[in-house]
Assembly symmetry: C2
Homo-oligomer: 311 residues x 2
């Protein structure tokens, strides 16, 4: 209430309220107990949440709060993309370091607003807190399915071609802070053809394809090492740590590209006339387990990426 | 993946998945990139989020994780109640202390499941992380409006009667950990009569009524001290700290009762035949500011409760 002194929660909320864009689907935005939204009739609501913690998913002192804000929105948008959904609205919960909390909140917003706007996402509510601990931000995004319904992880079939939308590995060199959620790519793919299964690559291609295999009923896959698009960052990191570039591409995670499986004839059509960057990297098999074909020999891949509890 | 060793994120998610109830509106639950829900056609989606931090909103070592889980769901349900909405589904984001994270997650679930179930709330997804920091839990609840639409903070009118649904103050003695969200009460009130404005009392009656006054266009209110229901906890605390019981009732917060305003004739009907506990505590005035009538004299009340950034 005191504009000369510290602004406080309610002052901060008022400032946020002045800065955010409100989309046409928002019937009640910031300033009530809940936000209210009108979705397109007949569509399912999609909801996804991600919590990012200083020291765990980013280092605030190195990345800056603006990048953190952008990442927090981006990783959630990536989950909406994985279902071939349309983003609608976000709510944001913050634990702000007491020292400098206001400035951090403003910078977070600087990072969140442009990416939200560019994907038609309204920031409709949240919860702001201060404490002695490090910055924690939870973003929850609400989306809706298209008329085609959601694409799930569980629809892969033996014989399906495995595709990815871009180069993988080495995101730690910076891309992990600047995810480019594949919303438009995903909608274009789902519009063009029937996608059997899809996931966004957050834990690494091996682990995330592993989720598709598990959810589709203990299937397997064989990947072709020569076909996997390797990010320049994976090459750089490989030069530094001696792990092979393909190892980085399979296991690093936070690429935020899409991994999808489609019928072989669908893959042929998509690759002949791709609606977005697209690389065929392998095939789904009835035999369980993930394998890598590399220079004529086949080896097993551990389907494990980053585990947030164990690693 | 290793059931003898630490269970890890994916193991924990599998265990959560086995324990939660899935409601009929859930089309995709835990195990995909987003959850998907089918809402009743024609209704608005409601969304609200709250973050609770160890040392700030609870003390884990004293309260135990089960109570924390219950509170995290309860405070969000209370926001749905404030809009006269119906709860549908929740997603939960966790920062678990690395030491003991699995046990804490299980106990949180022990606290969350019964309250979720008793209000028809499905736990449909989440995000689990471990770190060296204290427990942080963000719950986001998705609900839907009834056919009557949402009740907002902004509809109070001069002359309205201010009502509350139960005794206030002293929640710090324990009730703050065990909110009883007034979902049924709110739905019964909105079904019975037209409610002009409503809010749940989380920051204290003075502050939360203040939000109604501000959002309704800088109105005021006069409260009658003798009519405000005082919780026994407020009396106990008053005996300990010397602050008056009415001061506790006005400012303590975390009562999670509802505060609503209705036209005088509506109030008369409601009080003659109350669909839930109901106390008339004052009147909305065109003159801005909050005042308290106490033993014949009228004093100004500061419309400020707990500010999460300043306090």
């Amino acid at each position: 209430m005191n504009h000369d002194g510290p602004v406080g929660e309610f002052g901060l909320i008022r400032r946020i309220r002045r800065r955010v864009l409100i989309g046409s689907s928002t019937s009640i935005a910031i300033g009530d107990d809940c936000a209210a939204l009108k979705l397109t009739p007949g569509r399912d609501v999609l909801i996804t949440t991600d919590m990012l913690m200083d020291g765990r998913h980013f280092v605030l002192a190195e990345a800056g709060a603006k990048a953190v804000g952008r990442k927090a929105i981006g990783v959630n948008l990536s989950d909406i993309a994985a279902m071939a959904g349309e983003p609608v609205a976000a709510v944001i919960a913050l634990a702000l370091p007491r020292h400098d909390g206001q400035a951090i909140a403003d910078e977070l917003l600087d990072g969140m607003l442009p990416i939200a706007e560019s994907f038609g996402l309204s920031l409709v509510g949240g919860d702001t807190n201060a404490w002695e601990g490090p910055l924690v931000i939870t973003v929850t995004i609400l989306g809706q399915t298209t008329a085609r319904g959601p694409v799930r992880r569980s629809g892969a079939k033996p014989g399906d071609v495995v595709l990815v939308t871009g180069p993988l590995g080495g995101s730690l060199l910076g891309r992990h802070l600047d995810p480019a959620p594949r919303i438009r790519e995903s909608l274009a793919l789902a519009e063009a053809e029937t996608i059997h299964a899809m996931i966004d690559i957050s834990d690494g291609l091996a682990a995330d394809l592993g989720h598709i295999l598990e959810e589709s009923g203990d299937l397997g896959a064989i990947l072709d090492a020569a076909s996997i698009p390797i990010s320049p960052d994976a090459l750089t990191l490989s030069g530094q740590d001696g792990r092979s570039p393909i190892d980085h591409a399979l296991h690093d995670g936070e690429d935020f590209e899409l991994c999808l499986t489609v019928a072989p004839e669908t893959a042929a059509r998509l690759l002949a006339n791709p609606p977005c960057p697209l690389h065929a990297v392998g095939r789904i098999t009835a035999e369980p387990g993930l394998r890598l074909a590399n220079h004529g020999h086949v080896e097993a891949i551990v389907m494990r990426g980053f585990d947030h509890l164990l690693d």
